[in-house]
């Protein structure tokens, strides 16, 4: 149950809503509420007419707009700088075979743009970074700054040679006749010569499967 003050306050609110809506519509007459105190109605109309919205000077408006734009630019630059290291570390430089670097006087491929020191990025990212970077980024791809891919290739070559040498050594050891009697005995046993003549290796295998001792 609403009290008298709350009921009057709610009625006043409805009147104020109506007053402002009528003004927005351009209605000539203000709405009336016979249940409301006429003095309150008059006060509402006086305040509506007298309390006007004031506007600051044009000079202040434009000055503040410029300062806000400057702050916005700094914020945007900071945000891009935060994003730039991640982007630079995720994009690997690629140089198509037969295409020279920008410094060689040959244009880079259409989809790539040279950004910073030896890092190629998609053209969209490069344009965004160029627009926020204070000095123009150098558009020369330095050979010294390129990653040392020959080292990787050389490492693969060395590993391949080492594997080949090892294989040759093992083959040589197996083919070479040993001077040691023990080694010769082991090899003879493996080759099945300890069995009786006519049995050979096949008989030794069968004996092994059947569990028969010779």
């Amino acid at each position: 149950m609403l009290g008298g003050a709350s009921r009057d306050a709610r009625r006043t609110e409805r009147y104020l809503d109506g007053l402002m809506e009528a003004e927005e519509r351009g209605a000539a007459a203000a709405p009336m509420d016979l249940d409301l105190d006429p003095a309150v109605l008059l006060a509402a109309r006086e305040l509506r007419a007298g309390l006007v919205r004031v506007h600051p000077s044009f000079r202040f408006e434009e000055g503040l707009a410029a300062r806000l734009a400057q702050t916005a630019g700094e914020a945007r630059r900071a945000r891009n700088e935060q994003a730039a290291p991640a982007a630079a570390s995720s994009i690997a430089p690629f140089r198509a075979p037969g295409v020279a670097a920008a410094g060689d006087g040959v244009a880079a491929p259409a989809g790539l743009a040279v950004v910073g020191e030896g890092v190629a990025a998609p053209a969209g990212l490069a344009a965004m970074r160029d627009s926020f970077a204070a000095p123009a980024a150098p558009r020369r791809l330095s050979l010294a700054a390129r990653p040392s891919r020959p080292l990787v290739v050389g490492g693969v070559g060395v590993a391949s040679a080492a594997i080949s040498i090892g294989a040759v050594y093992v083959a040589w050891r197996w083919s070479r006749a040993s001077q040691s009697p023990m080694v010769r005995a082991v090899r003879a046993g493996r080759s099945g010569r300890t069995y009786a003549s006519g049995h050979g290796r096949r008989a030794a295998v069968l004996h092994g499967i059947l569990g028969v001792m010779p």
């Binding site: 709610r10 408006e61 702050t71 914020a75 945007r76």
Partner: protein
């Protein structure tokens, strides 16, 4: 969705400034649109509260700077507000053309103006009518009468207690709804209704005295 009002729940609505706010969050340069849209409202609020053009300009600048730098956190605050169901747990509803950004902006303005008043308490404030009461050379009778009425209205408002005056300025100058004023001032809608009703009664008594 904001909580339901005392009159019952209404369907959820979108913020009318959502597009502008999202654009400004993607690119801070787009904040200019929000700035131009609300400059006069924020400046008027600061002007009526501080009663000085220069102080109002300083406060306006602080408000928009704080809004620009705090914009990335705006939606999060709005969401937390929505989850909480309003200020101080009170049920609050936003009208159809509501802007949570505007409410947020005016909360900043309220804090900035309060700080400004605390900081400059020793500085004597010039009455508002002194700043706008000078007649121009081409002043017509109607505009002079309107200015006189405005001056009388303001004098009546200036005598109101602080909370009533703030509610009146937000209602009549910034054309906020009761729900929006409640959010800005951190009161319930019912309390704001009563504030406005009592403010109008005080102004009516003041005007009656003036006329007699």
């Amino acid at each position: 969705m904001f909580g339901s009002s005392e009159e019952g729940a209404r369907p959820a609505r979108l913020d009318r400034d959502r597009g502008l706010v999202e654009a400004a969050r993607r690119d801070p340069a787009c904040f200019d649109a929000l700035y131009r849209k609300y400059l006069a409202q924020v400046y008027s609020y600061a002007f009526y509260e501080l009663r000085d053009h220069h102080a109002a300009e300083d406060a306006t600048e602080r408000v928009f700077m704080q809004a620009l730098t705090g914009l990335p956190r705006f939606e999060e605050r709005a969401d937390s507000f929505i989850r909480a169901g309003g200020v101080g747990g009170a049920a609050v509803e936003i009208p159809v053309d509501a802007s949570t950004f505007r409410v947020w902006l005016f909360r900043i303005a309220r804090n900035v103006v309060a700080n400004e008043r605390r900081r400059d308490r020793r500085r004597p404030a010039a009455p508002l009518e002194h700043a706008s009461g000078l007649a121009a050379a081409d002043d017509t009778f109607e505009s002079a009468a309107a200015r006189e009425a405005g001056s009388a209205a303001w004098q009546a408002v200036a005598r109101l207690p602080e909370d009533r005056r703030r509610a009146v300025v937000l209602r009549f100058v910034d054309e906020m709804s009761t729900a929006e004023i409640a959010e800005v001032l951190g009161r319930s809608e019912g309390a704001v209704r009563v504030l406005l009703h009592r403010a109008l009664r005080s102004v009516a008594a003041d005007l009656r005295e003036r006329l007699s």
